[in-house]
């Protein structure tokens, strides 16, 4: 059995293997074509859902302001949320680490002598690797979201935060189902596949002891947990079993109910191009006297897991504006090519690159902020206007900060600094800040251009080496006069 520390380092280990993972997944043509096709589809859906550029911009600005206001008041709103949830009969638990969250959840399940759990889609429960944790305690935890169900059957992790199984095509899913679902009638028709998967799941819902779900928005003023979903599995998980445990990150709290409509509209349109999701659940209490359904007990686990580190810095705090729509992934040329598993983190893509360093430290994630061409596609589509490229730059800066520089604001700060790279940039700076030295250096480069090697590391594995001109522009213009 893994101990607490091993649990926490699971993703740190896989994030360290980023380069190896990239090699593996870039070479997988089927995987690459699955991602390209899916991302094209999702980008197109989003585009259709936002026909008016002005409306989109207004809405994004509004959502950005809402999230920024809520984050400014975060400690206060969390207290208010706890008070109002408690008033409504929902129990609140605070977890600083994934291990603490898992322990709390396991205890709650044990208090009901629960043996079977159905889970609605929750990325925060992926942060804590809850399935593995419960499995080790002989508790069966079944994923009920179709994508998550597929990923669980394949013994994989989600490759996308909205579409967990987007890395698989229908043929691969059909093969997976034939090996795992009893009486499976082989088909590659997507609807027929989903129907067969749903049938299997439905039987489980009726008998599960516990339902676990995520939360998209937690409303402080009313003590309401909001859950956005398309398959109805979220509603089943939160109404059928006697015990419902919700788990989410502390940044999901919003101040007012009125904050939700713009955020929801942006979330569904950015994520899947839907004007609204099929289900929008608002959970405001356990089953009341005389009610026919609903759980007897409802609990909320609020997880920090590095979020308060991001919160403490004005600029990095913007990371927490994220509403987890995944559209930054859909539009990212890097994600489209390497897919979601290569990152080795729970959250892949551009948002993963800026959120994971807070969860796992900059040392384990040192490859993530640099694995971007800073093209800006993510920042352009982010519904809450997180300046992702700017935050990537900030993380690069923190990663190479000299040890002597205080204050330390991030775990793993300065861990990416190497003496060689630091001295190269020092020399570069010296040459470029003294014009005469620059001109001399460029003079030398052009005169000795025959010495420039034809092989320049990774650059020339697919490109020819750039060739310096015979004379620089500086020189030619000096001679022109």
């Amino acid at each position: 059995m893994l101990n607490i520390h091993e649990q926490e380092s699971k993703y740190a280990e896989s994030a360290r293997k980023f380069r190896k993972n990239v090699d593996r997944d870039l070479a997988n043509q089927e995987l690459r074509s699955n991602f390209r096709g899916a991302m094209d589809y999702l980008m197109d859906k989003r585009k259709t859902a936002f026909p008016e550029q002005d409306e989109l911009e207004t809405l994004r600005r509004q959502a950005q302001l809402i999230k920024q206001r809520c984050l400014l008041k975060l400690p206060h709103l969390l207290e208010e949320l706890e008070q109002n949830l408690t008033k409504n009969g929902i129990h609140v638990h605070w977890a600083e680490t994934p291990a603490q969250a898992n322990e709390m959840i396991a205890q709650l399940i044990a208090s009901k002598k629960g043996k079977t759990v159905v889970k609605g889609k929750s990325m925060v429960s992926e942060e804590t690797a809850l399935n593995d944790y419960l499995e080790q305690r002989d508790i069966e935890c079944l994923e009920s979201d179709m994508g998550e169900f597929i990923v669980q059957l394949a013994k994989e992790h989600p490759s996308h935060i909205i579409m967990p199984a987007i890395h698989q095509n229908k043929k691969q899913v059909a093969d997976l189902f034939s090996g795992n679902i009893n009486d499976f009638e082989h088909t590659t028709d997507v609807d027929a596949l989903i129907q067969q998967g749903r049938k299997t799941l439905r039987e489980k819902f009726c008998n599960a002891d516990v339902g676990i779900s995520g939360v998209n928005f937690a409303v402080a003023e009313t003590g309401t947990l909001c859950l956005v979903e398309n398959e109805g599995n979220g509603r089943m998980c939160t109404t059928v079993p006697d015990l419902h445990i919700a788990i989410t990150g502390i940044e999901k709290v919003v101040e007012h109910m009125a904050d939700i409509p713009p955020l929801l509209s942006l979330l569904t349109r950015s994520a899947t191009g839907q004007i609204i999701s099929t289900y929008f659940n608002m959970i405001s209490s356990p089953r009341k006297k005389g009610e026919k359904d609903g759980p007897e007990e409802v609990h909320l686990v609020l997880l920090d897991n590095g979020r308060s580190q991001a919160f403490a810095d004005d600029e990095l705090r913007q990371t927490l504006q994220c509403i987890r729509c995944g559209t930054c992934m859909n539009h990212c040329p890097v994600y489209t090519r390497i897919g979601g598993h290569a990152y080795g983190t729970v959250y892949p893509g551009p948002i993963g690159k800026i959120v994971s360093p807070h969860m796992l430290g900059l040392e384990a994630t040192s490859n993530l902020p640099t694995a971007s061409s800073l093209c800006g596609a993510c920042g352009e589509v982010c519904p809450v206007k997180i300046p992702i490229p700017k935050l990537l730059l900030r993380l690069r800066k923190e990663s190479v900060k000299p040890e002597s520089q205080q204050p330390v604001i991030m775990k793993g700060q300065g861990s990416g600094r190497t003496t060689l790279e630091a001295s190269i940039w020092k020399a570069w700076s010296l040459v470029h800040k003294v014009p005469a030295l620059y001109r001399l250096s460029m003079f030398m480069v052009t005169r000795f251009r025959f010495l420039i090697p034809n092989k320049l590391g990774g650059w020339t594995s697919v490109r020819t080496a750039p060739k310096p001109a015979a004379r620089t522009l500086h020189e030619r213009l000096r001679e022109r006069k």
């Binding site: 090519r337 730059l393 650059w459 310096p468």
Partner: protein, 260 residues
């Protein structure tokens, strides 16, 4: 895809008598012809072009690598080289974005810095919005594609002006290639640090450009072109990119006239 937003909206000076040219370090050492062409083109418009010999590099390579102090020293040095209150025309959207937007982040928004940033104009936006240029196409008919760099597109909003200029050329048919707005995979040190991801991106970009069946592609950024042309040459393809300054000069010059 990308639309103009408030970051791109600005006041443009009416056609000035003099401008500075910011040549960029890539053009200086690798593609000086482009600098010469840009100057010749502007001079044809009756503008005196000043090229301060003290200019070096905008500082973007260090800035993007997280070495901000090193970038700062270089950036401050650039500002000193352009004392006159005249536009600074930059023949790269990427370096333009660095000096127009990121200098404020790096150096603060004191009046001297701000006035420098406000005077930064990318070459194509300057032609369209300050010169209100009318181009007379003297070249023969051909099909070209336009590659808009990400910085030009998202930081400067100048993919629009690039298209507007090409549209003025009567004999030029501009072909939109697949995934036109997608990054070519350059990204400065990204192409070195994550060479394999960058390679996958430039592989797709060249494929899409080749599929467009054009005689050349045009771009306002030599960084992207160094990447794309290097890949095309490696693949032994004849398609090449040309800087928009050189392209506009060659299209509008009397045929047979010698290049500077």
């Amino acid at each position: 895809m990308s639309q103009l937003n408030s970051q791109h909206l600005r006041n443009y000076p009416q056609k000035p008598k003099q401008v500075y040219l910011y040549g960029t370090c890539l053009v200086d050492t690798l593609f000086p012809d482009t600098g010469m062409d840009a100057i010749e083109f502007l001079e044809h418009q009756g503008i005196e072009v000043i090229f301060p010999q003290g200019q070096t590099c905008c500082g973007q390579p260090a800035y993007n690598s997280g070495y901000q102090d090193e970038a700062k020293a270089v950036a401050l040095q650039q500002i000193k080289q352009f004392p006159l209150d005249i536009p600074i025309v930059v023949i790269s959207g990427s370096c333009g974005g660095m000096m127009r937007h990121h200098y404020l982040e790096l150096l603060g928004d004191e009046p001297e810095i701000k006035s420098f940033c406000d005077r930064i104009f990318e070459f194509t936006e300057f032609l369209v919005h300050s010169l209100h240029i009318k181009l007379e196409d003297k070249g023969s008919p051909e099909r070209v594609a336009l590659h808009t760099s990400c910085a030009a597109r998202r930081e400067m909003g100048v993919h629009i002006t690039g298209n507007q200029l090409l549209d003025q050329l009567d004999n030029v048919e501009v072909i939109k290639h697949d995934y036109e707005s997608e990054c070519c995979g350059f990204g400065g040190t990204f192409a070195v640090k994550h060479a394999d991801i960058s390679a996958a991106m430039v592989g797709d970009k060249t494929k899409n450009l080749l599929n467009a069946d054009v005689v050349r592609y045009v771009s306002a950024d030599h960084g992207c072109m160094m990447n794309i042309n290097g890949s095309l040459e490696y693949q032994k393809q004849s398609l090449r990119g040309e800087h928009i300054a050189s392209y506009l000069l060659s299209r509008t010059k009397e045929q047979g006239g010698s290049k500077c």
